[in-house]
């Protein structure tokens, strides 16, 4: 089997419009969550989110593209351009024929839906823009990445709610690992921060009105974010031969299904995915130095995830660090695992552990080292990234330091 490494990373999210600014914000423990700004926000009871601010699509896309690209597609392309530029790859001939793009996404073009429902239902219009369907479909982002970069290999979109990106990256990993393709573009994106998107979440009563405080005893819910994270997964020898900079190695993954409840998480399901990822990557539990937690800031997730980690790692659970960067960029739903993978890369490559900010009170049910509030320097050889979705679908990735 082939080794798989990451040779490019790109992002746009509430912390920054590229990887360097996002990692700087994570190092500084900065909070990207702010007052939401969009039409009808005054009709919501939840008015905060990890919204991408100061974003000017006009400089990045032409008029035709803007008419065709939903916000989630735009974010994906912004991140993909950064990742592929960093990798230095150009796709032509045999490489283009084999390279593909597998992305995670949950809501599709939610802002496009919102705008057009408003137009036909509220404004009573009987005509919509001709591009509504190609704009809102979940696979639009993957398709536009394939078109912009000439990727003609296996390409599709994975939708497993909050685990979408991790499931997508696991698929991309498998394709490189199994020799189907030497290069795969992967990651995910989401843009649900519009009236209808937040209103739907509001209904479930799991959202916080003031802050995302994962693992803190006074946590009171999740906060939504938006953006994208995109990576270049490349076969190790392919990358080495061309002298590419290697950010980290993707060593393995596991997926599991709780098969129990549509919203409540299961300790057993999470534990099986964590344990499985280590087995797949052939790493011992005591080698794991950092886990990027799913850490949503809900009562249910954080205690279940802590219990799963304690079960899997035993005494080593007290030695490893586990943090949730959702406290800073919010929960990007289908894109969250991708943006959070950046924290794993930072831990492995730069030796900096992103903190869990907003941590105010220890919770005996989450008694792990959550790297509270301040980033920490530490040497880490192996990192895991957890994602546990509504619907009980779990995916955990295992990454290793290279060099």
């Amino acid at each position: 089997m082939k080794r798989v490494v990451i040779t490019g990373a790109g992002t746009i999210n509430a912390l920054g419009h590229d990887v360097p600014s996002t990692l700087e914000a994570m190092r500084e423990g900065r909070c990207g969550i702010s007052e939401l700004e969009f039409r009808d926000v005054e009709r919501l009871s939840i008015r905060i989110g990890g919204q991408v601010k100061g974003y000017e699509p006009e400089g990045r896309f032409n008029r035709q593209q803007l008419a065709l690209f939903d916000r989630f597609t735009q974010f994906t392309l912004v991140a993909a351009r950064e990742a592929i530029a960093q990798s230095g790859l150009e796709f032509s001939g045999e490489l283009a024929a084999r390279a593909g793009v597998v992305l995670g996404n949950s809501g599709g073009g939610m802002t496009t839906l919102d705008d057009n429902y408003r137009s036909v239902y509220e404004d009573g219009k009987n005509r919509v823009h001709p591009f509504v369907v190609p704009k809102l479909m979940n696979n639009a982002a993957a398709s536009h990445v394939s078109m912009e970069f000439n990727l003609k290999g296996p390409s599709f979109t994975v939708s497993t709610a909050c685990a979408s990106s991790n499931h997508a990256m696991a698929q991309a990993f498998q394709m490189v690992h199994g020799g189907i393709s030497p290069v795969m573009i992967s990651g995910g994106s989401e843009s649900m921060l519009c009236f209808g998107g937040v209103k739907a979440w509001e209904g479930l009563r799991v959202m916080s009105k003031d802050a995302c405080r994962p693992f803190s005893a006074n946590r009171n819910g999740m906060v939504q974010g938006e953006g994208a994270g995109i990576f270049v997964f490349e076969e190790y020898e392919h990358a080495r031969k061309r002298g590419a900079e290697i950010l980290a190695e993707v060593a393995g993954f596991a997926m599991s299904s709780d098969a129990s409840d549509i919203v409540m998480p299961s300790k057993q399901g999470a534990a099986r995915a964590i344990r499985g990822a280590m087995q797949d990557a052939r790493i011992n539990p005591d080698e794991v130095g950092y886990i990027n937690a799913h850490g949503t800031g809900t009562a249910a997730n954080d205690k279940t995830e802590s219990a799963a980690v304690a079960d899997v790692f035993g005494a080593h659970a007290d030695k490893l660090m586990l943090s949730s960067t959702k406290s800073m960029h919010g929960h990007l739903i289908g894109g969250t695992g991708a943006v959070e993978l950046l924290a794993c890369i930072m831990a492995l490559r730069d030796g900096v552990i992103a903190p869990t900010i907003g941590y105010e009170e220890p919770d005996p049910e989450c008694a792990l080292d959550v790297v509270p509030n301040v980033a920490r320097e530490a040497h880490v050889d192996v990192a895991l990234s957890n994602a546990f979705a509504f619907g009980g679908l779990n995916a955990v990735l295992a990454l290793k330091r290279v060099g």
Binding site: S45, G203, L204, R205, V206, S208, R219, N220, G221, I262, V263, M264, T298, A299, A300
Partner: protein
């Protein structure tokens, strides 16, 4: 119908029980109403009375709304309805 009867009717429907089987002393757990069922009941109550119930599923005990029994829910709703008029 009184507020009490209307609330009991909603809870009975959620629990798939006859209204006679739901009393003021009943606890939601005992009626078989889980977390999703609770959120759905509160939604139905909000629709029925056109009120907004301050309830966060992350921490029911810290919410300004007591869901420990059917009686406490009824009295909470009575307060909210009164405050509205």
């Amino acid at each position: 119908m009184s507020i009490k009867d209307r609330v009991i009717k909603i809870i009975a429907e959620q629990a798939v029980l006859e209204v006679e089987d739901v009393t003021a002393d009943s606890k939601l757990d005992d009626l078989g109403i889980d977390s999703l069922g609770l959120v759905e009941s509160i939604f139905a109550i909000e629709e029925e009375f056109d009120i907004s119930v301050p309830f966060n599923a992350n921490d029911p005990s810290e919410s300004d709304f007591d869901i420990s029994s059917v009686a406490s829910i009824i009295s909470g709703i009575e307060t909210l309805v009164k405050a509205q008029t």
